[in-house]
């Protein structure tokens, strides 16, 4: 019967407008005519926290291509006179008078008794911060040599918004540079895990039988393993003589390699449950080919769910990278990521004296929270017909 039906293909290729046979009321017309993606967007929009989180993430990711311009200093610029300088406040009012954003210069002395550098603030002369200005030179996108920055330290002055590290490098600039690595590693990692999850989950759900059985056991075993010790072991296996770029990709692949089982399981169960739905049966009875059923009916239906669960697993990737680099097994300098920056905070003595070294954890927590909120909103919106 199946072959008979397939020979007579009844699916009309021309677009079908349900409104022609059964007119819909004008008041709900928008709603009924909206595509499912549009419905998802409408539903997501109502989730205010998720929407705010999405804008926060958008801001972070928009920053990624332009870090060189946004950061006031270059990431490797060492200010030899200002090692471990505490954060320099940005002020607006000088002696009761508005002068625009400025900093007070640091005076530096050495305390012979404690062997520590002491920075005193000289409040007599404000140094205004410059905007759209020229400072450290850099190569933009590896093509243009330029030295234009969004904000720069004052002429002959310094502007360490979040202080400096042991080599006198500006922490604020390094956090901005670190965003590039830390934020992309989550995206590349999820791409790896998404591909693997879609492949194995699709295979299991589509073929069934022993393939399904083997893949299910594989998923169970991988899910029963604690991730971090395995991440540690795998990243310890990366050869020490690899270039930083290779290590970056190695770490990303390691993060993605252990993350796919959750996604694969979601794909498999969605495929299995959707296969039984009436609309799939209808499509099959009308003689639609397997490819058409998969591409036009199954994938659009579970894609939104997949994107939502992928969003929810990006934070674990970002945290994984941060944890590995923090322990010294992940990315290595000169690559700058938030985890690499936190690696300096591993030494408790240094943190006691220079607490601003802990600051890179703020963007980590903000981004992870934002991804969680946005993922929750997406998950609620993923099924707009309920």
């Amino acid at each position: 019967m199946n072959t008979l039906l397939r020979t007579r293909h009844y699916v009309d290729p021309s677009p079908f407008d349900p409104g022609t046979t059964e007119p819909i009321g004008t008041e709900n017309e928008d709603f009924y005519r909206a595509s499912s993606w549009q419905l998802i967007w409408w539903k997501f929009r109502r989730h205010k926290v998720a929407l705010a989180a999405a804008f926060v993430l958008l801001a972070f990711y928009l920053m990624v291509p332009f870090v060189e311009v946004i950061a006031p200093y270059n990431q490797t610029k060492r200010n030899g006179d200002f090692l471990y300088a505490p954060p320099q406040g940005i002020h607006l009012m000088h002696e009761g008078r508005f002068v625009g954003p400025f900093v007070y210069p640091y005076k530096y002395s050495f305390d012979i008794e404690t062997f520590r550098r002491v920075y005193t603030v000289d409040t007599s002369q404000p140094q205004p911060i410059r905007f759209f200005c020229r400072a450290d030179a850099y190569e933009f996108w590896g093509v243009w040599n330029t030295n234009v920055h969004l904000v720069c330290p004052p002429e002959n002055g310094t502007m360490f918004i979040l202080g400096t590290d042991r080599l006198g490098r500006d922490l604020f600039s390094r956090i901005i540079y670190g965003a590039r690595i830390s934020l992309t590693i989550g995206l590349i990692g999820i791409a790896v895990s998404f591909t693997l999850g879609l492949f194995f989950g699709g295979l299991a759900g589509y073929l069934g039988g022993w393939v399904d059985h083997v893949i299910q056991r594989m998923i169970e075993i991988l899910r029963s393993l604690p991730e971090l010790p395995l991440w540690l072991a795998l990243s310890a296996a990366l050869p020490a003589n690899w270039s930083p770029i290779l290590v970056f990709f190695g770490i990303t692949i390691i993060l993605g390699l252990l993350d796919w089982p959750g996604l694969a399981r979601a794909v498999r169960s969605k495929l299995l449950s959707l296969r039984e739905e009436d609309f799939v049966k209808a499509a099959e009875l009308m003689g639609a080919s397997k490819q058409r059923v998969i591409a036009r009916h199954l994938i659009p239906n579970f894609m939104s769910h997949l994107i939502a669960s992928a969003t929810l697993s990006i934070p674990s990737m970002i945290l994984g990278e941060t944890a590995l680099s923090f322990l010294g097994l992940g990315l290595r300098p000169p690559v700058t990521s938030w985890g690499v920056l936190l690696n300096e905070a591993q030494n408790l003595a240094a943190v006691q004296l220079h607490p601003w070294l802990l600051f890179p954890m703020v963007p980590v927590i903000v981004v992870v929270l934002a991804f969680n909120f946005m993922g929750d909103g997406l998950r609620d919106a993923a099924d707009p017909y309920h």
Partner: protein, 339 residues
């Protein structure tokens, strides 16, 4: 029930077997190994006695054989240079870095790891259940909102960063050092009452830090489960018939909502163990975490392999226990086949 148990035990044995192969593959991944690096170093120094010893160790542990034979010897499924002596026989191998048997290197760390994780599981349940009941029965109250908010924060704050923050602030404000699991003076001492007390007081912070994320997700899930059950007719009937609110709640919906709660231990454990390894590293707890890190960095393969097997065993056995509990509580599970 017996056949269910047997089936689960067989599955567990197969799982552990596959995990052991995976672990062996991973620890063999880095090029070179501890001993051949050592021999090269010793050759440069011309220390012949030490070279002879290292070469003896290579023979002793069959490191000159093909990888698959090494694997079988390691797990004890094939006779090595000194007969069947592997994980199955309880011989955990030799730590080259410490020049001691692995069993002496890990020692107390195994029990302390178990203790820390157990404490975290207990903490999660003791804290999550009452909060979830409160949140579900007083939905949309201020307390519910506060619990939900704290839950979100707990879910998103990475445990090792939280540990770092606590380490810094507790030291700064109260002058307490929370590193380690007992005061430094007890290190290497036999277990006395004072040492146990010191251990318990040091256990508080790690337990909270490790358990926070799990607690948050447990509260969320249990609240949702309980809310589902509270809307059902049997609960309304029970209340209508005059059952007191506490009894009506604890007798029916609470028990129903506990079900997924137990099943969740299995999902929770891998994350918990992961978290405990990481937090141990930050707080320098004498668990297997710090030993694992140094073993991996130095390619001390038997030590690293054993610890990886141990943490895997911890989660796999935990899952087995949660499955058995679930089958015991819910007859539908064991009647309907393994899954």
């Amino acid at each position: 029930m017996i056949s269910f148990l047997l089936r689960r035990l067989v599955t567990m044995a197969v799982t552990l077997f596959i995990i052991s192969a995976l672990v062996f593959f991973i620890i063999k991944l880095p090029p070179g190994d501890f001993l051949s690096n050592l021999i090269q170093e010793l050759r440069a120094q011309g220390d012949n006695a030490a070279i002879a010893k290292a070469e003896f160790l290579i023979k002793q542990y069959g490191l000159d054989r093909p990888a698959w034979e090494q694997y079988l010897i390691w797990i004890g499924a094939m006779p090595g240079p000194n007969g069947f002596s592997g994980l199955l026989q309880g011989d955990w191998g030799w730590s080259f870095e410490y020049d001691k048997p692995v069993v002496d290197v890990v020692g107390d760390a195994l029990w302390l790891t178990l203790l820390v994780n157990l404490a975290a599981v207990v903490f999660i349940h003791v804290v999550a259940i009452p909060i979830a009941i409160y949140s579900a029965t007083r939905q949309y109250s201020i307390g519910d909102y506060i619990a939900t908010f704290i839950g979100y924060i707990g879910l998103a704050t990475p445990s090792f960063l939280l540990a770092l923050i606590l380490l810094y602030y507790l030291n700064r404000w109260f002058g307490v050092s929370i590193g380690g699991l007992y005061d430094a003076k007890y290190a290497g001492e036999p277990w006395t009452w004072d040492k146990i007390r010191s251990l318990l007081s040091h256990l508080i912070v790690p337990t909270i830090v490790i358990g926070l994320a799990g607690t948050a997700s447990m509260i969320r899930r249990m609240r949702a489960n309980l809310l589902d059950e509270l809307g059902k007719q049997y609960y309304v009937t029970a209340k209508a018939k005059g059952l007191g609110p506490t009894k009506a709640l604890l007798k029916y919906p609470f028990r129903m909502s506990l079900n997924p709660f137990i099943a969740d231990i299995g999902n929770l454990l891998p994350h918990l163990v992961s978290g405990s390894v990481l937090v141990s590293l930050v707080l320098s707890l004498p668990t297997v975490g710090p030993i694992l890190l140094s073993a991996l960095k130095n390619q001390d393969q038997f030590l690293a392999g054993f610890i990886l097997m141990f943490v895997a065993l911890l989660t796999v056995v935990g899952m087995l226990i949660s499955d058995i509990l679930l089958a015991w509580i819910d007859p539908r599970i064991r009647m309907g086949g393994a899954r």
